[in-house]
Amino acid sequence: MKSITAVALAAGLALPGASLHAQGFDPDKVKGTITFYTHFSQFVDDGRWDVWTEAFSEAYPGAEVEVVPVSGYRKDMPTRIASGDYGDVLNVLDNLPPGDYEKFYLPMNGMDMAEHHQFVDRYTVDGNVYGFVYGVNAEAMVYNKAAFERAGIEGIPTTRTELFEVCEKLKAADITPLAINMGAGWPMQQWDKAALLFADDGDYYQAMLDEPAPYSVGKPYGDTFRYVRDLFEAGCTERDYTANNWDQSRSLLGIGEIGMWFLANWSIPQAIGQAELLGIDAGPDLGMFPLPIDDDGEPSVLLNPDWAIGVARNTDNPDTAKAWVEFLLTGTDVANAAGFIPGDTRIEPAMPQLQELLDRDPPLIESGTPSTEFKQAMADARLDFMTGTYIRDVILAGDFDAALEDLNGRWERALAR
């Protein structure tokens, strides 16, 4: 017996790829060129992708990464996927039901980084890990302190009443109080996320599957839409709500022409960057506070993971691809550069504004994973979850209650299927 185990042990150690278990891929096989489809086009402009891919080539000689920026990721990548040629490393599409991940992505099991990474469960299906997130977002109100000062506002609003008062003061000072960027479309997805704040439950999406009329006022989603509609009707939002002014709004927030918006920490580097082009240092002017949804004075902050990256199912170079995923998320500062709380818990978040928010010690809600059934129900009800168009249509509808009724009806029929 002993000799057999000894032989087995020796054979096991001699096997190439014994390191496979520690890292999930074989470092000797990390060679060749892989294609990486990314949505971070801003890092192409400032050269960061070059810096990071060069560092990767130094760490793994013989390996190269070709970075291809894609704008309109959710719309364009599915067509590439349908063609069968979608590169080696790409984002895990979030409009895919988790049950479909195995069709398009390769499992990345046994990787070290899984132990130090956040939201790994979100992309784990049947024990297989399909994606690792870039980072986590604290969904809260980003505001311009200088603009608040100009309008004579002291401190931050912690209740809904105070928020509307703040809006009035900003309006009086000729500053757009709260930019919702309805014209750009996608920023309206924030209100899908806000529903979790109103529900005070990160797993509300799952609970919604048992709810026949979730869009009624009194239920989280209905309350969220009522909230936005009230802001809209009170004139707290931009006058022009059809044109896509997203690029412009970033500079406007940086220089203080917009008072605040409900996006997350990732928007801060973008606003700072745009304001820099105008010669203004917006860093010290920007801050964050939790979205005051009601009058109880202790609003929460939602922690929502951002995009995750995964390896394509049909890649020719799985080891290089996995090595790149690990290198990018644990060996570079991509998360901090993008303004996230890094997914890797060993990396410290570097954003002072985020620190300011967390120092106030607000209650944190972690957003739960939308399940396959939930995404299916949303698609069946023709509600483009996390895209924002159906929310825009509700806010602009002539008869608000009828629009909510219509949404309820669609949801009910979708559940019945």
Binding site: P78, A82, L96, K103, L396
Partner: protein, 309 residues
């Protein structure tokens, strides 16, 4: 391909079909037709057949598996999902705009065909919008119609400040603003066609009418109009098809906000946003059927009672 090139002995059996002059001519004709037919089949007929095939399956546009569901998509479209057909109602606004556009185009064509000084310049000015790329035009119109955009600024400088409206924000006005953008672009095209048709009207009829003392309107009603009736009918059909299929103007100016979503926008949203290629294809096929019905009805109305045209 003259017969002198073929030296076939009389009485001898012709060496194959293609050796004769007529045969060679056939070969040449076929040869010239092959390339356009191949392109037509590849880019028009094959996608159309595939569209009908897609409307019979359920597919999310990404995965390799496609489930055959037969006429289920159609049943759902005409049954529980009939709300998907609602954006077709917006096409009525564009149709109304097209009728106005046709009237204006005819008016301009009649005036410009008189040969008045400067008519060449005006023809150019009116036709220029059509030459511009429709995407560029829509983007410029978007900024033009914005709050404090080009139109508002122009009205303000002219002292007509109170006439400023929310051209795109106002839910009633937005549909007509979009129709205006569309009419502005296609007026030139219809003008050109009508102008061409007017050239073929014999001039001596006008002289005879003028000698008889007919007024301008009478000349138009009795000489011009009957001559260009067919062309106007054709343009009306084109206007119907165009208004059912309008896409670029509303997509770029409002993105479908304020209830300006048109049918093609709904189809594209169905296919690429909700990943339901089967249902989107069924919607497209329904559009084709509606267009054919509309065109047939118009043709019948035009030629009905007058015998075959």
């Amino acid at each position: 391909m003259t017969s002198t090139s073929m030296n076939v002995a009389p009485g001898a059996k012709a060496p194959g079909r293609f050796a004769s002059a007529a045969g060679q001519r056939r070969l040449v004709i076929a040869g010239f037709l092959v390339v356009p037919l191949v392109l037509l089949t590849l880019f028009s007929l094959y996608p159309f057949v595939q569209l009908i095939w897609f409307s019979l399956i359920e597919w999310d546009g990404m995965s390799p598996e496609r489930t055959f569901v037969g006429l289920d998509n159609y049943r759902r479209l005409l049954g529980e999902d009939i709300g998907l057909l609602k954006p077709m109602v917006n096409s009525l606004y564009y149709f109304a705009g097209s009728v106005l556009q046709l009237a204006l185009a005819t008016y301009f064509a009649v005036i410009l065909s008189r040969g008045l000084p400067g008519s060449n310049v005006f023809r150019l000015i009116l036709f220029l919008p059509f030459v511009l790329n429709s995407v560029a035009v829509s983007i410029i119109f978007r900024d033009f119609l914005q709050i404090d955009g080009g139109l508002d600024a122009m009205l303000f400088t002219l002292g007509l400040g109170e006439w400023r409206q929310e051209w795109v924000q106002d839910p009633e006005l937005v549909k007509w603003s979009l129709v205006f953008a569309s009419v502005w672009r296609y007026l030139g095209f219809q003008l050109l066609i009508t102008y061409g048709a007017l050239q073929s009207v014999p001039q001596d009829q006008y002289e005879a009418a003028r000698i008889e003392g007919a007024s301008e309107w009478q000349q138009f009603r009795h000489i011009t109009f009957p001559s260009i009736r067919m062309i106007l009918g054709l343009q009306l059909i084109l206007a119907t098809v165009g208004s059912l299929e309008v896409f670029d103007v509303p997509f770029l100016i409002t993105g479908g906000a304020n209830d300006t979503k048109t049918f093609i926008m709904a189809v594209i949203e169905e296919a690429f946003e909700f990943r339901r290629v089967g249902m989107a294809s069924a919607m497209s096929v329904v559009l084709v059927v509606v267009v054919m019905v509309a065109v047939t009805l118009q043709r019948l109305a035009m030629t009905g009672g007058k015998g075959r045209s």
